[in-house]
């Protein structure tokens, strides 16, 4: 089981839609994941229990340095692109979570 967090400016709209997309992607690819969404101002409190962060280029600078894998995509709602990035990342770092 991996923990994925989508990060946007307020954690209400974009990251929420991204969360829905990513839940569907995980389901389709048999990735055992728990997906959440938050604002970049709150991301610190998510870090200890997060494995992968998915966000956009302008937000990356607000995310504190840690061991969490960060996936950056210009269009966080583009399902194909996000799917490719996420599946590659999971295969490389969290192969155990693919069922």
């Amino acid at each position: 089981m991996i923990n994925i967090v989508c990060v946007c400016h307020n954690g209400m709209g974009t990251s929420m839609l991204a969360k829905i997309n990513i839940s569907n992607i995980c389901q389709a690819n048999n990735i055992d994941a728990n997906v959440d969404a938050c604002a970049h101002g709150e991301v610190m409190s998510f870090l200890p229990m997060t494995d992968v962060i998915i966000t956009t280029p302008e937000i990356v600078e607000f995310i504190p340095k840690s061991d969490v894998k960060i996936i950056i995509t210009k269009n966080i709602l583009d399902k194909e692109e996000t799917e490719e990035l996420l599946v590659t990342c999971v295969k490389e770092y969290f192969p155990g979570s693919i069922g």
Binding site: N10, M12, G13, L17, I20, A39, H40, E58, E61
Partner: protein
Amino acid sequence: MQYILNLLLNQIFTQPFLLMAIVVFIGYMAMGQKFSKALIGACKAAIGILVMGLGSGPLSTNFGHLLTVLKESTGLQGAGLNTYTTMTASIARIDGVLGDGVGTSWCLYCLLLGFIFNIILVALRKYTRIKAIYLTGNCMICQCGISVFLVWHFLGTSMIPTIIIAAILTALYWGIFSTMLIEPTKQITGGANLTIAHQNMLMDWVSWKVAPKIGNPEVDDIEKKKLPKGLGFLQDSVLATLLVMFISTAIIMLVCGSSGLERMHELFTAGSAYKNPFIFLVWISVTLTANLWVLLAGVRMFVSELMMSFKGISEKLLPGAVAGVDCAAIYGFAPKSVVFGFLVGTVGQLLAVALLVIFKSPIVLIPGFIPLFFDNATVGIFANKFGGWKALVLICFFNGLIQIFGSALVVAMTNLSWWQGVSDYSTIWLAITWILKTVGGLIGITPVG
């Protein structure tokens, strides 16, 4: 039989936490999800509704104290600008007359009906020319809460007509304006099949049309220029909210003087121990921000469950429709316009608030992070894309003025302690509010609540 009817009508279908749970549960099942998943979603949605109340209750009490002191000391009517609190304030006005839970259930029924209307409008796109489905759930729920209030307040209608009229108005607004943005959004994202569905749609469209007349995007594209760093902390939504609350409370304290401060100590019973004015000020601003954060956490909990079903259902029913999504979805394509638009819009808003005070307007507004940031950043992206930085500066500044003056006019008509502050609600919904008020006046209705 009587018992079951009473149970359904008074203890289930008018109880927002159960109603929301039922809606989410049906949504999941309609999408063919597992029973357990539907049940978990329903529970989370029910909890979310109650958490929202835990935030909005104290927030409206505490913010109300500030407004009371302002009114007593200066005679000025104050109102804050934030989307979520405008929904809860509208709902509270309905609840105040018709009883607890009524406003939220009306809001949810309006949301469901509005969503269905939006689907119908798109299904009939041959005739309506509406192609976009509005899917930004966090905006939709706020707008529905406000719509039912406006209709009920000015037309004095009962439950069913209120919900139907509000849903029609809201669905038309969703469909028409998000469809108008399909073309420019495509150009900004380089061909993504989505459109903006937010609360700044009219000004985004105006930027698309007007910006090319102001500047040349080839020469003046801000995304290709260097910008000074260091203002990034202003984009932290929690911190920026605290900062705005701190400055506003400080100004109110200064304006109201020592008698006002004494009155604040009386009203804020939980903070009466903080005799030092500065500590008291910090305590009030932190408390207001915390209340708002709890409210948002609640909305977040049920909105994600609700959006899950809405998205699934619309994709199933209307495979060809354009998805209308949150404005921040395009922020990755133009990060510098985001920051610059936000800053220029803030200057515009602050000037407008100063003008309200200088020209002795009976209403003053307290700016909020959501209208300041999300509105001006999005308008800024459209302006820069189609007219460069000069267009951005001019249009975002103008947008800041519109947000304040438009909102002040709406507050004068509705007497709400909060208003959206976003540009659509200072233009389109200013007009709708005025029309509802005029129609109500013509048929001889005294506003209720």
